[in-house]
């Protein structure tokens, strides 16, 4: 890196005049880091840790809502469509809802009638799409889901009984020995056999669930309720609701308010807590960097004094230390960003069983923050030292 000796003195002077300090500047920058490896490394380490923690916190802060919303969808429907005044919904209502949802949620139709058991006791019988219910109402405690056997001939089904899911409270009333039994509705009977029981602690416990196809064939009643678990932010759910209202004008579309309000509250509070924690942690990390770097710069007051004694201007010196800090800040931020993404992904996997997606939008924030902290921690001691005579520092006073 030394100036080429073959140049004549005039050439050298001319080249120095053109780029007075560039090569020396770079050289000092690199050598300062190489020669004082230990302290430079500890400053860099502090920077990396701070940037990593900041990246992880910001990433989590952005992503945690989506993660928790998914948990809340386990509460089941947040929108309910019912036919006006107990009427049935049009037969293609479910298809219309599905096309509105387009995969961003799940909908399950229900049809309900009051039927009578063999001894004349009234009981609510519901027709449901078991595959959809399984996904929508995950809290149902079901001993055995009835499997639909499409190949079973109608004759056999009539003999063996249509598979049904019996509520735990209804079971002792209708099938104490788990035997097949008859249900009648408007003089039409249906032979059902218990396939399993359902327990929810709510109205479902007193009902009998049969497959929707069996139900419609038996009663001729179309579904009157569609439960929808729409995913996404409150705005997305509201727009889904509007679209469903337009798609099914004959239906009454209602939000399940307790679920939506509870979700909004819990998410809001969690995110505020996260924000407070992130602010505290980032502040601590920034101060850690500040104290390490200030110590590092302060330690090099002899370098500073020598440079000044050799005639370096105050601006050049500030520029030198600032450049050094900027390089450190940028390097630390980049390494820390990668590490932080890793931490966030790990937290996502451990806690939410789904990785937290890396957000590149966090990078400029972390980069700018790191540079600001490092520049501050370089400029602060320099502005103190600038007022001191180099001789005083060199004499060790």
């Amino acid at each position: 890196m030394s100036a080429p000796m073959s140049h004549s003195g005039r050439d050298l002077a001319a080249s120095r005049a053109r780029s007075p300090h560039t090569s020396m500047f770079l050289r000092m920058l690199v050598r300062a880091a190489v020669l004082r490896r230990g302290r430079a490394a500890s400053a860099l380490f502090a920077m990396v840790v701070a940037a990593a923690v900041a990246t992880a916190m910001l990433n989590l802060y952005v992503d945690v809502q989506a993660k928790l919303r998914r948990e809340f969808r386990n509460y089941g429907a947040n929108i309910i469509v019912v036919g006006r005044d107990g009427a049935s919904l049009p037969p293609d209502a479910l298809a219309r809802v599905d096309s509105v949802l387009a995969g961003r949620g799940i909908a399950a139709p229900f049809a309900l009638v009051v039927a009578r058991t063999g001894d004349g006791q009234p009981i609510v019988v519901a027709g449901a799409d078991f595959e959809r219910v399984k996904q929508l109402d995950k809290w149902w405690s079901v001993s055995n889901w009835p499997s639909e056997i499409p190949t079973l001939a109608a004759k056999d089904a009539a003999r063996m009984g249509h598979p049904a899911l019996i509520g735990v409270r209804a079971l002792p009333e209708v099938a104490p020995k788990n035997q097949a039994f008859d249900l009648s509705f408007q003089r039409k009977t249906l032979h059902v056999s218990p396939a399993g029981t359902v327990q929810t602690g709510a109205a479902e416990d007193s009902r009998i669930y049969i497959s929707l196809a069996d139900f419609v064939a038996w009663t001729g009643v179309q579904p009157s309720t569609i439960e929808i678990a729409a995913s996404g932010s409150p705005e997305e759910v509201a727009s889904t609701m509007k679209q469903v209202t337009q798609a099914i004008p004959s239906g009454d579309v209602r939000p399940v308010r307790q679920i939506m309000e509870g979700e909004a509250r819990v998410l809001g509070k969690t995110q505020s807590t996260l924000l407070a924690a992130a602010a505290l942690i980032i502040l601590t990390a920034a101060l850690c960097v500040l104290s390490t770097l200030m110590g590092w710069v302060f330690d090099r007051r002899r370098d500073f004094a020598i440079m000044k004694a050799l005639g370096a201007s105050g601006r050049l010196l500030s520029g030198f230390f600032a450049a050094e800090a900027a390089v450190l800040g940028a390097t630390g931020a980049l390494i820390g960003f990668v590490v932080g993404i890793g931490i966030a992904a790990w937290i996502g996997r451990v806690n939410f069983h789904a990785p937290v997606m890396p957000r590149l939008s966090v990078l400029p924030v972390v980069l700018a923050g790191s540079m600001a902290v490092t520049l501050l921690s370089a400029i602060l001691p320099i502005s103190l030292l600038r007022r001191v005579q180099p001789a005083v520092i060199l004499r060790g006073e």
Partner: protein, 421 residues
């Protein structure tokens, strides 16, 4: 001499000591606040989750089957069994009574509503709004206003002792009534104090004080079911076990853990002829959400502890590194490595104690502030935490100083004194 050295070091090097002390204070502040938040977050979020509604329901033991479609009961109101209203305060007498955040009895009655000689059958739901009850000498207030926080009333909530009613939103629109009007219900003129909006079946119903519903039904003291809102612990394999199969100490452990099952078991014990069950939609999902949020805050607390430990270490290392000359002088005057190290460690301990104490106080205030601004309730730091926090502060300060002290005492005094390092 030792004491004097330490004392003078604090007196004369105020700037350095203040810097290091500030770093320790900040670190301990963050640690205390985060530990406080992390230990309390479960309880706080649990309370927020209660806004989703009751998680337990108590029904009569020998009840006939529900005939409920779309939230509307089709069962004849006099059919089936009832609970006794007089037994309800016993809910506050169970082992986990402090975890019961509220309960609301329900009694649906079919009534005829008359308007311009038009008769129409509607459901009248009798309940508590915010009723003052006593268990022994302990007074408490409970009712739908705490268990069903999503119920919104335009107008005023009726008094529990009054004969005022709430009209469901859709019913009110159909009838063209508004709050302040009078309606003829079951032959009684009743004042509508407000219009209720719930987004559920109640929008088509009349909500009345429980006593009024009992009077209309002609069954004083009757309650159809009770919704109970309780703070519970997410159930696990142990919680799902049948209490009848447990014996002795294991049974006691099950009984004394606030699982939804064990609270339901205690409710059924407290109220005669009753059956209590968890509402799975609410209670099952609660556990999942709670576990996730607690886990998240726990991991973040670890990150906060790590960051503050690092900050303290960095500050300590810097302050000690700046004092090489002093070390050189001491060694030149004949001090052994042990003496020098013990002086530094004594100073570090003192700093950690002062900074730790200050940080604990500030951190407790910070946690308190976070609790109030986010959850509107107090996050209190148990004083038991103080020795733990102080011990952590001392250990972290020691660990942070150790490397720097080792380097400092290993220096050749000649180089140190000449400043050639």
């Amino acid at each position: 001499m030792f004491v004097r050295l330490v004392y003078e070091s604090f007196r004369r090097q105020k700037r350095r000591k203040v810097l290091a002390g500030a770093a320790i204070t900040l670190g301990v502040t963050v640690a205390t606040a985060m530990i406080g938040v992390a230990t309390d977050i479960g309880d706080k979020i649990n309370r927020e989750l209660r806004t989703i509604g009751a998680n337990l329901v108590v029904t009569p033991q020998e009840d006939s089957l529900d005939l409920e479609i779309g939230g509307v009961s089709l069962k004849p109101p006099t059919d089936g069994a009832f609970l006794n209203e007089a037994d309800l305060p016993k809910i506050k007498g169970i082992f986990w009574h402090n975890n019961i955040t509220g309960f609301a009895p329900m009694l649906p009655v079919k009534v005829a509503i008359e308007q311009n000689r038009n008769r129409q059958d509607v459901t009248l739901l009798g309940t508590y709004f915010a009723k003052q009850l006593f268990y022994g000498k302990d007074g408490f207030t409970t009712g739908v206003r705490s268990t069903h926080p999503w119920w919104k009333v335009s107008g005023a909530w009726p008094e529990d002792s009054s004969r005022d009613v709430l009209l469901g939103e859709r019913l009110a629109m159909r009838l063209g009534e508004k709050s302040g009007d009078e309606v003829m219900l079951a032959g009684r003129p009743l004042k509508v104090s407000g219009i209720l909006s719930t987004g559920g079946a109640e929008d088509d119903e009349v909500i009345a004080p429980l006593a009024l519903a009992q009077e209309i039904l002609g069954r004083p003291g009757a309650v159809r079911r009770v919704y109970v809102s309780a703070l519970t612990k997410p159930e696990d394999a142990f919680g799902r076990r049948d209490p009848k199969s447990l014996s002795g100490a294991i049974y006691d452990r099950w009984y004394c853990t606030p699982y939804p099952q064990s609270i339901a078991f205690q409710l059924a014990e407290a109220i005669p002829h009753s059956h209590a069950e968890q509402i799975r939609q609410v209670s099952q999902n609660e556990g999942a959400v709670l576990t996730r949020i607690e886990g998240l805050i726990f991991l973040i607390t670890l990150a906060a502890l790590f960051a503050s430990a690092l900050a303290v270490s960095a500050a300590m290392a810097t302050t000690i590194f700046e004092r090489r000359t002093e070390v050189g002088l001491m060694k030149a005057l004949g001090a052994g490595k042990l003496t020098v190290a013990s002086i530094f460690f004594a100073e570090a301990t003192l700093l950690a104690m002062i900074g730790g104490l200050a940080g604990f106080v500030v951190g407790a205030a910070l946690a308190h502030q976070i609790g109030h601004s986010i959850f509107n309730s107090d996050i209190s730091i148990p004083p038991v935490l103080l020795p733990v926090i102080l011990a952590i502060a001392v250990i972290v300060t020691f660990a942070g100083s150790a490397a720097a002290i080792r380097r400092a005492v290993g220096l050749d005094p000649v180089f140190a004194l000449r400043g050639e390092l």
